[in-house]
């Protein structure tokens, strides 16, 4: 009898493995410069090497303390326990990008374990993903196949050759492994973004996706409930080496559909040795089988005799803990509590490290400059409002991030000061924001030279009022007769006459005095 494979519900189940390249000055086990450090991003291939990185005979690894500290920092930020005693193991396998024939990693005693990260899910609700472990290892080199390129004077066109660049070999790599707590591709993406954000707040990685500073490997399967109420788990698939959030989303969504279809066709269920590895083909939007059975691999892990164990004292841990800056979650809470921002606005201003820092710099600048008695809460709220309205609109138009519009925090502070002092009107302020995107000049000077400052000079104002009352006799009469809403028409005319420079409030006061008070 053919099994009934009718599906009632299908629930996605995703755990993440995230590789973070740490931006320490030198590599994990040698003094060689680290390609993940901003000073060396574009180093010529095979220049960031030394005997250790090249795996030369007799060369020995020596642990980089800074990489341990960065990792502990991430561990603490993820609420992990930090192992008092962890060690280095060798993962043995042959590949041309692995100079020693083994990778130094941490197998059964990781540096950080049992943590969690809270984030705001796609539905706007907070959720938590448990962290199983975070361990340190060294990155491998890079291979380029199918070469047909010019490298300096060397011209390689053989199709049958590969080039090896060992600049990345030995870069400290923090591997973070989560429980399969994620149920939606969108949430997986938000989780990955939040994790990147945390790492960038901690300043342990450049976090530049295009450079491979963070690589994501979702472990995906589907829990299917059949019509008969039976629960079935599909075999787990690990999708390797995704280096964009788009790829994370695409790969997970594709796996969800593919696994359901596969189950309907084959009835294959999760079981020992069933885990397979797939790659992501971004062009076709599909995952592609790479390795059938994970269990077939035997890495012959054993403790690396070249390296003493890592012992983390309470004192060391505490001194690292004190270096942890304000993290996105804390910042979010502070924005809500201190600046009275909505949850949504606070989230928008903290989901990107650069945007968040830009917002902070604008507030700092305003605080430094201002002579008025604006409260901190008011300043925060005002800057947020400007950035989330005028700023967000420009960012949207230019397809850029807020911090990247070309407006300096100083210019933002000047603009807000002008608004606060009422020397510029709201529509002129908006126009000024546009100009600031293009110009480096002082905001006040720019407003002045472009004639955006409000005119409060009473002679000029009086003249505009006189002209307006003359042009709108009916409205003037109505207003004088007690109809408040007639004022709008008169002010509108004044603004037209003045090209928006007239201070609407002063004008209203003046008209009220003229038409009603006497």
């Amino acid at each position: 009898m053919v099994e009934n494979r009718t599906i009632k519900t299908a629930q996605l189940k995703v755990g993440m493995e995230i590789h973070v390249e740490l931006s320490t000055r030198s590599k994990m086990f040698s003094r060689s410069a680290n390609v993940a450090h901003p000073d060396h991003y574009d180093a010529t291939p095979n220049t960031l090497v030394d005997p250790v990185v090249l795996g030369l005979p007799g060369a020995l690894p020596v642990m980089n303390r800074a990489a341990i500290e960065s990792s502990i920092m991430v561990g603490l930020a993820l609420n992990c326990s930090i192992a008092e005693f962890s060690r280095w193991d060798r993962k043995n396998y042959f590949y041309p990008d692995l100079p020693k024939g083994y990778q130094i990693s941490q197998y059964d005693l990781p540096l950080c374990f049992d943590g969690e990260l809270e984030f705001i899910g796609a539905n706007g609700q907070p959720q938590t993903v448990s962290i199983i472990r975070a361990h340190l290892e060294e990155d491998t080199g890079k291979l380029s196949h199918d070469i047909s390129c010019r490298h300096g004077s060397m011209h390689v066109n053989a199709l049958n050759q590969s080039l090896i660049d060992l600049n990345r070999a030995g870069t400290p790599l923090l591997e973070i492994v989560t429980h399969p707590d994620l149920k939606y591709a969108d949430d997986a993406v938000i989780f990955c973004q939040e994790l990147r954000n945390v790492c960038r707040f901690l300043n342990v990685t450049g976090g530049i996706m295009q450079r491979g500073h963070m690589r994501f490997e979702p472990n995906v399967n589907v829990i299917i409930t059949t019509d008969e109420g039976k629960q079935i788990a599909t075999p787990i698939v690990e999708v390797k080496n995704l280096n964009s959030f788009k790829a994370v989303k695409g790969a997970i969504e594709h796996e969800f559909n593919r696994q359901i279809k596969q189950w309907q066709e084959t009835g294959l269920e999760m079981g020992a040795g069933m885990k397979s590895t797939r790659g992501w083909d971004a062009d076709r939007g599909v995952t592609v089988l790479q390795r059938e059975k994970e269990d077939a691999h035997d890495y012959r892990y054993f403790p690396d005799p070249d390296l003493p164990p890592v012992v983390v004292t309470e004192e060391w841990k505490q001194s690292i803990a004190t270096c942890i800056p304000e993290l996105p979650q804390q910042r979010r809470r502070r924005y809500v509590d201190e600046y009275n921002l909505t949850d949504a606005d606070a989230l928008t201003l903290t989901t990107d490290f650069d945007v968040s820092n830009y917002f902070e710099s604008c507030i700092d600048m305003l605080q430094q400059r201002t002579t008025s008695d604006m409260t901190a809460a008011h300043m925060g709220k005002t800057v947020a409002k400007l950035l989330l309205n005028a700023g967000a609109r420009r960012a949207n138009e230019h397809h850029r991030e807020l911090h990247d519009l070309g407006v300096t925090p100083e210019q933002i502070a000047q603009l807000i000061e002008m608004r606060e002092a009422n020397t510029i009107g709201s529509s002129a302020a908006d126009e000024l924001f546009d100009l600031l995107c293009e110009h480096d000049a002082d905001a006040t000077t720019l407003a002045e030279s472009c004639g955006l400052l409000q005119v409060t000079d009473s002679a000029q104002l009086d003249s505009w009022i006189a002209q307006a009352l003359e042009a709108e006799p009916e409205a003037a009469a109505n207003y004088a007769g007690g109809k408040d809403n007639a004022l709008g028409r008169i002010i509108g005319t004044i603004m037209k006459l003045s090209n928006g420079k007239a201070d609407a409030k002063s004008a209203s006061d003046q008209i009220r005095r003229q038409l009603r008070d006497n």
Binding site: P51, L54, G55, L56, P57, G58, A59, L60, P61, V62, M63, R90, N92, F94, P96, P99, K100, G101, Y102, I164, D298, R300, F302, P305, D306, L307, P308
Partner: protein, 493 residues
């Protein structure tokens, strides 16, 4: 004969200008030229460079400035210690033309101390062997009996001293590779405690055992060189940061109330009768010097070989993975449809000799899933027990003595069976397993077929107690003349 002159006498001769560094080095090069063709202790000679370095030393002496500890002393280096000049082959086809761009820490320290590196000495391939026969470039012959092995794996370094080709050489000891050839060649050989000397630049075999140490004509010379080599190194995190004592300071003082432990297991009938007799005489000598001889037990001695031949090959299988034909070393010719796997398989099959392949396979096997617990994990447990056994033994005595090797040098080609070859190391592996220090000093001869074959006495002390070990050895040396006996027909006649 300059190459048997002690370092202190050489230094004195340089100081009073009766000798020049160039003269000393020329003498060494001349002896190598005349004698080494029948011994093959050296694999490569750096004549030009050595002479130029000797000139520098002579110029330094001429300035009247104080001269460093090893000024003008010719030193031979085992071929598994990298130098940034010449080649470093490890006795392997795999590295036949390999030139290291960097130098080992010990090479740096030797040159800093004024020593002159004259060449590299032959060894078993990647230091895997006990006879210096398993070499890609031919075996080394024992200077005392050219049809016999010098021991191994540092056979070339031991033979170079025995033949008077240079006064100092370096070897490496993983399970006995300094002590056993020192015994078979009748010279002094020191394996320091694990972590006493930097391994940076020593091509790794068994990383948790490997130590570099000196060969010398006398205990004092070995002590001087050890003082130069020892100490912390930022390039090797297994190298201890602890203080290096002055090994000469109390070298000549007898150890007060000396208690010498003699493990029963070391005087078994496995030993050649000449070895047993020589060691018993040595015990009697110590007793006559006033030492208290303590009967101790090291029952785990029997498990040493098995433990060692699990852990060391396991580490070796991983350490030798880097020789893959990709970046340096031998890369096999490939045919059209060969893939990456063939590149590895062919390069490694052609590059490594049979003994290396055997140990790589052995090590791979014991680390494999399903075998790890039965072999590797169990061997680590035994290792801990062996350490504890030594700790207990050293509560009863200052030093442990016994034979270095159960038999004197055997004939080249005589031992074909790997297991019986591994038995050479029965008294030496446990020192390495426990990480303590051990050395071999001449303690007699075995006269076989008209040949005079040296016998070595092993002295072992607690980890980082080289000072006591050297004193105990020096006491014996001062009371005996075995070290002074040299190869009578050294090829010059």
């Amino acid at each position: 004969m300059l190459q048997r002159t002690s370092i202190s006498n050489l230094q004195a001769a340089l100081q009073d200008r009766s000798q020049t560094a160039v003269g000393i080095v020329e003498d060494s090069l001349d002896r190598i030229d005349r004698i080494d063709s029948s011994i093959h202790a050296f694999r490569e000679i750096y004549a030009e460079r050595a002479l130029s370095k000797a000139h520098e030393i002579d110029r330094l002496i001429a300035t009247g400035n104080p001269i460093p500890a090893l000024a003008g002393v010719p030193v031979a280096i085992k071929d598994n210690i990298v130098t940034d000049f010449g080649t470093t082959t490890c006795g392997s086809r795999m590295l036949e033309h390999f030139q290291s761009p960097y130098r080992a820490t010990v090479v740096d320290r030797l040159e800093h101390a004024g020593a002159i590196i004259i060449g590299k000495t032959n060894c078993d391939e990647f230091a895997m062997g006990s006879s210096t026969e398993h070499c890609a470039f031919g075996p080394t012959h024992n200077p005392w009996a050219r049809n016999r092995v010098p021991g191994g794996s540092s056979g070339g370094s031991a033979a170079a001293i025995a033949a008077g080709l240079c006064p100092i050489s370096l070897g490496s000891d993983t399970g006995g590779s300094i002590r056993q050839p020192a015994a078979m060649c009748g010279v002094v050989g020191v394996k320091p405690s694990y972590g006493r000397v930097s391994r940076n630049g020593l091509v790794a075999f068994g990383s948790s055992f490997d130590q570099i140490g000196p060969f010398a004509n006398t205990v004092e010379d070995a002590a001087i060189v050890l003082g130069v080599l020892a100490g912390e190194d930022p390039h090797d995190s297994t190298c201890a940061s602890r203080h290096v004592p002055d090994y000469l300071e109390k070298l000549d003082q007898p150890v007060a109330d000396l208690r010498i432990g003699v493990p029963r297991e070391f005087l078994s009938d496995h030993n050649d009768v000449s070895v047993k007799t020589a060691v018993q005489n040595a015990i009697a000598t110590y007793a006559s010097l006033g030492a208290e001889i303590v009967d101790i037990e090291l029952p785990l001695t029997a498990y040493g070989i098995a433990t060692y031949y699990v852990i060391a090959p396991a580490e070796a299988s991983s350490n030798l993975a880097r020789f893959d034909g990709v970046r340096y070393g031998l890369r096999a010719e490939l045919s059209g449809d060969d893939d990456l796997f063939e590149l590895y398989a062919k390069s490694r099959s052609q590059g490594f000799g049979p003994e290396v392949q055997r140990r790589v396979m052995l090590g791979t096997y014991v680390l494999s899933a399903g075998y790890y617990d039965a072999f590797y994990a169990r061997a680590l447990k035994t290792r801990r027990l062996i350490k504890q056994e030594f700790d207990r033994a050293f509560e009863q005595c200052h030093a442990i003595i016994g034979p270095t090797s159960p038999f004197p040098a055997f004939e080249i080609g005589a031992t074909q069976d790997p297991i019986s070859m591994y038995q050479c190391d029965i008294y030496t592996t446990n020192t390495s397993i426990a990480g303590i220090c051990g050395m071999s000093i001449p303690c007699g001869f075995s006269d076989i077929d008209g040949q005079r074959l040296p016998i070595g006495l092993q002295v072992q002390c607690q980890a980082f107690d080289e000072a006591t070990m050297l004193r105990v050895a020096k006491m014996f040396e001062s009371a005996t003349t075995y070290h002074a006996e040299t190869v009578s027909h050294d090829g010059t006649s």
